[in-house]
C-alpha cells in the first residue's frame, strides 16, 4: 500500500508534476495496480533465467563510422526554443 509521500517521491523521480487534488487518486490506483501485480510473488523463479528478448537475440554491433548526415536545422526547427544553433532552457547556474 502506497502513501501520499510515496506518490510525491515517485513523481519527483519521474519529473512529473502531479496536481495536489489528484494525489489521492494516484494513491488508490497505483496501490490497486501494485496489489494486482503482487500475484507474481507466489511464483518460485529461483531457477529461471530472466527473458529480455523473445528470441534471445543479442545486441548487434556495427562499425564505428559516421552514418548520419548533419540535419541540425531540420531537427531544431521543431524545438520549442533555440538560439544560434543551441537549445534554450531556463538559467541553471545563478
Amino acid at each position: 500500500m502506497l502513501e501520499k509521500t510515496d506518490i510525491e517521491r515517485i513523481a519527483h523521480l519521474a519529473r512529473l508534476q502531479i496536481a495536489d487534488a489528484d494525489v489521492d487518486d494516484y494513491v488508490r490506483n497505483l496501490s490497486d495496480i501494485l496489489g494486482f501485480v503482487e500475484q507474481m510473488d507466489d511464483v518460485d523463479t529461483s531457477k529461471v533465467e530472466p527473458m529480455a528478448h523473445p528470441l534471445d537475440a543479442t545486441q548487434r554491433l556495427r562499425q564505428d563510422v559516421v552514418t548520419e548526415t548533419d540535419q541540425r536545422e531540420k531537427f531544431q526547427a521543431i524545438a520549442p526554443q533555440t538560439e544560434a544553433g543551441l537549445y534554450l532552457v531556463p538559467k541553471v547556474i545563478e
Binding site: 510515496d6 506518490i7 515517485i10 513523481a11 523521480l13 519521474a14 519529473r15 512529473l16 508534476q17 502531479i18 496536481a19 494516484y26 490506483n29 497505483l30 490497486d32 495496480i33 501494485l34 494486482f36 501485480v37 503482487e38 500475484q39 507474481m40 510473488d41 511464483v43 523463479t45 529461471v48 533465467e49 530472466p50 527473458m51 529480455a52 528478448h53 523473445p54 528470441l55 537475440a57 545486441q59 548487434r60 556495427r62 540535419q71 531540420k74 531537427f75 526547427a77 521543431i78 524545438a79 520549442p80 526554443q81 537549445y87 532552457v89 531556463p90 538559467k91 541553471v92
Partner: protein, 485 residues
C-alpha cells in the same frame, strides 16, 4: 466501391477499370461524410493523397506498379511521417512534425500506396478502449456508444466504417488484435522483430510490433509483404528472409493440429462469445483440422507480468519528452526542474502518467529485483508454455477478447478491470509470437474475434489458416449498415 477489398481494388487499378485518383477522391469524400460520426482520423492528408495517387496512376500506366500501387491506406498516428504531423494521440506531440519517415512509412511509399491520413489512437498506445486519446475517443462504427478497442482503435474504426480499405496498427499487448475483434476485422501481430520498429514511437520496446489491419487475410498478406523484413536501423529487427505470404493462402488444412488452451475458456469468458468461438473451431474440424486440448498453465500471470514490463519500459522511453528538444513545453518555466515537471505533467494524460509512475516505482532503487527482474523471469515461464504447446500443435485458437466491445466509461475508474480485457492477447506479446484475430460471429449485433496464435515466424501458416476460414464463412464481409451507403 467501398466494399471492395485491397486485392479486388488492386486488380481494378491494374486492369484500368479504375484510377487511383478516382479511388482516393472517393475515400476522401467518404471521410468527409462519415468521419465526424466516429472520430477515426487525427489528420487527413487530402492534397498529398491526390498527388500521390496521380503518381501511382503514372506508375501503373508505365507498367512499373506493384500490388499496392495506388491503394489508399491509413497509417496509425504512431508512425513518424516526414512533413505530416505525428501526434501519437498526445498533447505532448500535438504539433510535432517528424523530421524523418518511419521504416514502415517508407516501405508503403516505395510500394506506391497512398496515405489518406493518420488514425486516432490511445495516447502513446496506452489503452484498450481509445478513451485515452487527447483528440477524443473513437466510436465503434457497429454501435457508436461502444468503444472500438485500443490502442489501434482509429485504424479499426476507419476500416469498419470503410474510410480506408486497410490500415496499419501496432500491438504491444493486443492493440491490433483487440480492436480488430471489436470492429469485425482481420488483424495480424507479427513475430517480434519481423517488422521494423524504426520511427514507430516507442511504448514498451521489448513488446511493440507493427502489423496490418484489413478486412481479409488475403489483404493482410499483401500488407505484411510490404512491412516485413530486416532493418539495420532497428536493433531488435531479425535478419531472416521474408516468404511470399500470398502464395500459400490456399494450402489444405487437412490434419492441421489446433491446440485449444483450457485457460482461455475459463471464468470471465462471456458465454455467447464462447459459443461463437466453439462454432468457429467446429468449422475448422469440418475442413479437416484436428482439435487437441492443451494447457498454458501460466496464463493467469500474463497480465500482472505485462503491467510491470510495459510500464517500466514506457517510463524509460517517455523520459525523452523533456520540453527541450521537441514536443510540448509549459508556459513560463521558472527553472529547469519546473520546465521538466510541468511540461510532462501538462503534456501527458492521466493513463500515461499512471504508467510512468508505476514503471518509475518498479525500476527505482531497491525494487528492481522484486518487480522488473521477477517479471522477466515469469515472462520466460509464459514463453516456455507456448514452446511446449507448439511441439504438439500447429496453431493455438481461442477468443481474442472475453467480451464483445463494451460501452464508454465501463472501466474508466478501474484501471485493473480495463487491463483484464486484454487477458487473452498479452501472453503472445510477452512470448514474442505472431497471432491474428479474424471475425468469427456476432453477439447481439457486435463482432466476435477468433484468435489464432502461431509459432515464431509462422505468419504464412496463420494467414493460410485464416484465409481458408474466410473461404467458408462470411463474417468478414459484414459491415455496419449505417455506413453502407
Amino acid at each position: 466501391m467501398h466494399n471492395k477489398t485491397v486485392s479486388e481494388l488492386s486488380a481494378d487499378l491494374h486492369n484500368g477499370v479504375l484510377s487511383s485518383e478516382e479511388l482516393t477522391a472517393y475515400y476522401l469524400q467518404r471521410i468527409d461524410t462519415y468521419d465526424s460520426k466516429v472520430n477515426s482520423y487525427i489528420t487527413v492528408c487530402a492534397d498529398q493523397a491526390i498527388t500521390a495517387a496521380r503518381q501511382a496512376d503514372q506508375q501503373i500506366a508505365s507498367g512499373q506498379a506493384g500490388p499496392l500501387t495506388g491503394i489508399p491506406i491509413a497509417q496509425k498516428d504512431i508512425f513518424c511521417t516526414d512533413g505530416v504531423r505525428t501526434t501519437c494521440g498526445s498533447k505532448m506531440l500535438g504539433n510535432f512534425i517528424a523530421p524523418y519517415n518511419a521504416t514502415t512509412i517508407g516501405q508503403f511509399n516505395k510500394a506506391g500506396a497512398v496515405m489518406l491520413g493518420k488514425t486516432n489512437m490511445d495516447e502513446f498506445a496506452m489503452g484498450s478502449s481509445n478513451e485515452t486519446s487527447f483528440f477524443g475517443p473513437v466510436q465503434n462504427p457497429w454501435r457508436t456508444n461502444t468503444v472500438p478497442g485500443g490502442s489501434s482503435g482509429g485504424s479499426a474504426a476507419v476500416i469498419a466504417a470503410r474510410l480506408a480499405p486497410a490500415a496499419t496498427g501496432t500491438d504491444t499487448g493486443g492493440s491490433i488484435r483487440q480492436p480488430a475483434a471489436f470492429c469485425g476485422l482481420t488483424g495480424l501481430k507479427p513475430t517480434y522483430g519481423r517488422v521494423s520498429r524504426y520511427g514507430m514511437i516507442a511504448f514498451a520496446s521489448s513488446l511493440d510490433q507493427g502489423g496490418p489491419m484489413t478486412r481479409t487475410a488475403e489483404d493482410a498478406a499483401m500488407m505484411l509483404q510490404v512491412m516485413a523484413g530486416f532493418d539495420e536501423r532497428d536493433s531488435t529487427s531479425v535478419d531472416k528472409s521474408v516468404p511470399d505470404y500470398s502464395a500459400s493462402l490456399m494450402e489444405s488444412l487437412d490434419d492441421l493440429k489446433i491446440g485449444i488452451p483450457k485457460e482461455y475458456f475459463a471464468d470471465g469468458l462471456d458465454d455467447q462469445v464462447a459459443t461463437a468461438i466453439n462454432a468457429a473451431i467446429a468449422e475448422y474440424e469440418k475442413m479437416g483440422a484436428k482439435v487437441i486440448d492443451i494447457s498454458l498453465p501460466n496464463t493467469h500471470l500474463a497480465v500482472p507480468t505485462y503491467y510491470v514490463v510495459a510500464p517500466a519500459e514506457c517510463s524509460t522511453n517517455l523520459s525523452r519528452f523533456d520540453g527541450v528538444r521537441f514536443g510540448y513545453r509549459c508556459e513560463d518555466p521558472q527553472d529547469l526542474s519546473d520546465l521538466y515537471k510541468r511540461s510532462r505533467g501538462e503534456g501527458f494524460g492521466a493513463e500515461v502518467k499512471r504508467r510512468i509512475m508505476i514503471g518509475t516505482y518498479a525500476l527505482s532503487a531497491g525494487y528492481y529485483d522484486a518487480y522488473y527482474l521477477q517479471a522477466q523471469k515469469i515472462r520466460r515461464l509464459i514463453s516456455d508454455d507456448f514452446r511446449r504447446a507448439f511441439t504438439e500443435v500447429d496453431v493455438i485458437m481461442g477468443p481474442t477478447t472475453p467480451t464483445v466491445a463494451f460501452e464508454f466509461g465501463a472501466h474508466s475508474n478501474d484501471p485493473v478491470a480495463m487491463y483484464l480485457s486484454d487477458i487473452y492477447t498479452i501472453a503472445v506479446n510477452l512470448a514474442g509470437l505472431p497471432a491474428m484475430s479474424i471475425p468469427a460471429g456476432f453477439v447481439e449485433g457486435m463482432p466476435v474475434g477468433l484468435q489464432i496464435i502461431g509459432d515464431y515466424f509462422a505468419e504464412q501458416r496463420l494467414l493460410n489458416v485464416a484465409h481458408r476460414f474466410q473461404q467458408q464463412t462470411d463474417w468478414h464481409q459484414q459491415m455496419p449498415t449505417e455506413f453502407n451507403k
